[in-house]
Symmetry: C2
Subunit: 161 residues, 2 copies
Amino acid sequence: MEDVIRSLGYLCLGSRLKRIGEQLQADAQQLLDGLEVPLQSSQYPLLAALDRLGPLAIGELAQSLGLTQPGVTRSVSLLAELGLVEAIQSRGDQRRRVVSLTGKGQRLVDVAKRDVWPRIENAVADLCRDLSGPLLDQLAAIEDGLATAPLDRRVKTGAVQ
Amino acid sequence: MEDVIRSLGYLCLGSRLKRIGEQLQADAQQLLDGLEVPLQSSQYPLLAALDRLGPLAIGELAQSLGLTQPGVTRSVSLLAELGLVEAIQSRGDQRRRVVSLTGKGQRLVDVAKRDVWPRIENAVADLCRDLSGPLLDQLAAIEDGLATAPLDRRVKTGAVQ
DNA sequence: GCATTTTATATGCCATGTTATATAACATGT
DNA sequence: ACATGTTATATAACATGGCATATAAAATGC
């Protein structure tokens, strides 16, 4: 059965990128499922942003993640319920809520950084190894690569790192 | 403000592809809004699949679009309500519902094919012109390109084609 | 100092995708 | 022919994103 999205090339590039992105996230989920806290792979970028940049207001988080503010507000609520972040009203400007990792959140990030993120990064790098040429060809190679061997089969089976 | 998704490279490639894909679809929406039928850009691939491959059962459509069957079932219901497609129970195998473009749907596709799809394709091709090098660099170039000039500013302003 | 505007966040509604599961029709083995 | 399994589709529950808009706090202009 012909893959129409692929055949249509630039016309459906948006759909295709979304599709590949979702596949990558689903694959990464497999690798994250071993951690103690059940969390969707799509939530990790927010934690990573806080870990990397320190406490940030909702709006700043949205900007650093390239998402809209309402989306970030909702993700923060979810992560706060899980006890991974806390959002504290700013003393100076009472409109702002500054989000930071809790101890539990920081521990989760530390474990992920040590045990899982390197695996994901390596697996994706493996997937993209030797890519070259026009963008559409590279995307086709990624799609074929994922179909042949999903991320969890690309993890270096030896050491953790 | 640092773009964390971009900084994290391969680790967040999935999020990044989704983000770029959504941006492209939103940009393409601008170009489609001129048509008589208000329809989200994300629905066009389904119409394009039917136009390209002829009538297809739900499951075949899902396969040719790379989506899951429940997602396609819903899109088909939506498009059927708009009168753009019809899903007719197969005579032979009564489990199958074969989806085809209605007259209205075919007319919409024909207009889009003539007036809009070439513009989108050209605009995206323009965006991706001169891309080369590693995938991440190409993605960065696309993001920067979209920020500089969204798709609707990349349409050839001269002739329709 | 108060009216007005701007800014930061929250919320409602919708779009679109997923997985898990239900249901109905078909296929198969005995 | 009937029990069993398989297949095609539908539905439910959920996840995540968007846009439009509401609300509250701060800033601004007279």
